[in-house]
Symmetry: D2
Subunit: 152 residues, 4 copies
């Protein structure tokens, strides 16, 4: 038994988002192109924000409130080829929640299976009007804390 | 002889832009996806603006000067399949230059050939701060006039 | 009363598809970029095929059955700016159904409104193994006929 | 002095590739979207392959020779915002060359500066017809070895 949890699965709370594969998402051989997964990851963050009552267009950048939430790092590993015609389920969880940043975890499965095809993470940092890092806005922080439960 | 010119070729002045086909530009069968051509068309407009001394980022939208140049219509016909590994040359010309709008013509050829693979057009309209159509900015108009020659 | 129908609305049967606007779909000013609409149109065709029981990955190209359904022409007009954060509904209908081709109509509305923001069309032609045009496969034709009703 | 080299710069041989930022590459706020960098990375690999005399369309997948070179992992860190209108230079190097895989390093700079805006890497594995990992094709290996010099 792994005391750190199963690395194949999200720890704690997660949302499951269906991912549709479209023309333009694949390489010329019909296999989903690695860069597309990062777009899917972003769509996963958008879906999580929606679920938390944080409309993405008011949170990724909010000039009135004077903050932004840019992504400062991302990585993904790709385990199996996924083809046009396949359907995926993306599970999004909160891996690390810190004062100024949050790291999301992404787990891609073939639909209706536990077949992990890719796994990644991305870190968002809160910035102020001068692109200096700052504390996460309170409402973002509390929504993420509530979602992540006792994970962090 | 066609008094209206050869519909297979740009009329008057044009610039020739190399088009690279990348992963993500094709359908799952390795053929350039129709929507990608519209991205190439936009890259053609950007290249033309650059050539005319109009830096795209200062012209597609200029909040200080209070104008924008959104695309209000576009069309393209696709004659032959183009595959990843092919190289294209895009010729961009000015088809119609009016007080408030300009229509660009796009001709896509296999590199170093007269093999027309796709042909399209797109129309840009000048708008003011309220998204009302207005006269093209003088510098845009004069650069396009000079480029288009006696075509219009 | 317009005997040809309201050009602002799809004629006959249509499906309504929600369109999500994602990062990468907009121009640098936050307005949906014209080329993105053509991707949405393709997603609309995919959704229609799904609805008709024609899995897209078995129909856009089918090497076993020896046919393909490439897009040979597309156009779109853009009436109003759509921003990141807006939600759209895309209505897809069959405009013309011919022996060897089908033209789809696309109507983009702000969600829950009759505010038409863009309107386009795209034509698919059936091709055989040699990229020669041929009759639409029978199952495609009959599914589209049934969907389109007495329109054509 | 850092015995491991300057982490801000490619070690050993590299190629420098100009990166153009286009509509569709940015977030709605005009800043290059993190997923776009991964597309640029792939363009960097394509450029390197071209430079090495390995035409990308014959090497990422080659059904006749029975191999493929899919990307199995990628990561990138983003240090500064890059806007539409900025120009970038991407330096691509070989970080690790192993029997069955190669890891490329990517360094993004503002054009004509040493201002590092993003840094990433991506690993390609050679696979056979059954998607099992296998030795890199000899010509790929020798071209990369020659390019990378005595680095590995």
């Amino acid at each position: 038994m792994n005391p750190f949890g199963d690395p194949e699965k999200p720890q704690g709370s997660f949302i499951a988002v269906p991912v549709s594969i479209h023309f333009g998402d694949t390489d010329p051989y019909g296999v989903v192109y690695f860069a597309s997964y990062f777009r899917y990851c972003h769509q996963g963050i958008e879906a999580l924000f929606e679920r938390l009552g944080l409309p993405p267009h008011l949170y990724f950048r909010n000039s009135e409130r004077g903050f932004g939430l840019p992504i400062v790092g991302a990585s993904c590993d790709f385990y199996r080829p996924v083809k046009y015609g396949d359907k995926l389920t993306l599970k999004v969880c909160v891996k690390h929640l810190k004062a100024k940043s949050v790291t999301f975890g992404f787990f891609f499965y073939k639909e209706n299976s536990e077949d992990l095809v890719a796994k990644g993470e991305a870190t968002i940092v809160a910035i102020d009007r001068n692109w200096k890092s700052c504390a996460l806005p309170d409402d973002v922080r509390s929504a993420l804390e509530k979602f992540a439960g006792d994970l962090n």
